[in-house]
């Protein structure tokens, strides 16, 4: 089980490479410019769903970006305490940026 932290916009090669490596039992956290993939109508969201991984978004970044009001219900907004909890559950992290 790997925690993937994704901080690059949908359309970047970092975004694509991350998706290629996410397995169904991994955790995925969208942060920075990756939060736009959490928009309910974003084509990138369908690709995220297809990984089967639990989807999270860093709440502060989503609110800053204006994504929160239009965010998909499939994505769980989390604070830093929950981010740390995710890191406790996953022995390794890969940062994609």
């Amino acid at each position: 089980m790997i925690l993937h932290t994704l901080n690059a916009s949908p359309g970047s090669t970092a975004f694509d490479h991350c998706l290629a490596q996410v397995a169904a039992d991994d955790g995925l956290l969208l942060m920075g410019n990756a939060v736009y993939a959490a928009l309910a109508n974003a084509p990138a969201l369908a690709r995220l769903r297809a990984t089967g991984a639990r989807l999270h978004v860093l709440e502060d970044d989503a609110r800053t970006a204006g994504v929160t009001p239009q965010m998909s219900e499939d994505v769980l907004a989390i604070d830093f305490d929950a981010f740390v909890a995710l890191s406790e559950q996953h022995a390794r992290q890969v940062a994609w940026f």
């Binding site: 932290t5 830093f80 305490d81 940026f97």
Partner: protein, 130 residues
């Protein structure tokens, strides 16, 4: 658990996330002995940077975490000096104006990052893409 963080991102969203994570990890009772700043991450320790009014002063907030939680904030020496981040020793050694490193930060070699990697149970990288 024993945590270590590597920050590669300059002040911005990824660096704010690293700080938020560091605070939350300490609040959850984890050990965070060292945050290592490498590459553009060293810009978080720029003592001569001026935060825009009304915006977060990241070097000051990192320094606050360091003093409250005993977290060591290390700027990679080779990343730092090429960007003008010098402590008193390096300023003298390279005959430049200084020190320019913000209070609470120290300068050290990559060996300290490696040492941290051997000691910790959780290691997280914070970088910023576009």
């Amino acid at each position: 658990m024993n945590y270590a963080l590597l920050v590669l991102a300059p002040p911005g969203s990824a660096s704010r996330a690293a700080l938020g994570f560091a605070r939350a990890a300490c609040a959850r009772g984890h050990q965070l002995e060292r945050v290592f700043f490498l590459d553009r991450g060293v810009e978080n320790g720029m003592g001569t940077a001026v935060a825009p009014q009304g915006e977060r002063d990241l070097p000051a907030q990192w320094a606050q975490l360091a003093s409250e939680q005993g977290v060591e904030l290390v700027l990679c020496i080779s990343s730092a000096i090429r960007r003008g981040l010098l402590d008193a020793t390096e300023a003298q050694r390279h005959e430049k104006v200084g020190p320019t490193v913000a209070p609470g930060f120290t300068i050290g070699g990559l060996g300290l990052l490696v040492e941290t990697c051997t000691d910790c149970e959780r290691l997280l990288t914070f970088g910023e893409g576009c």
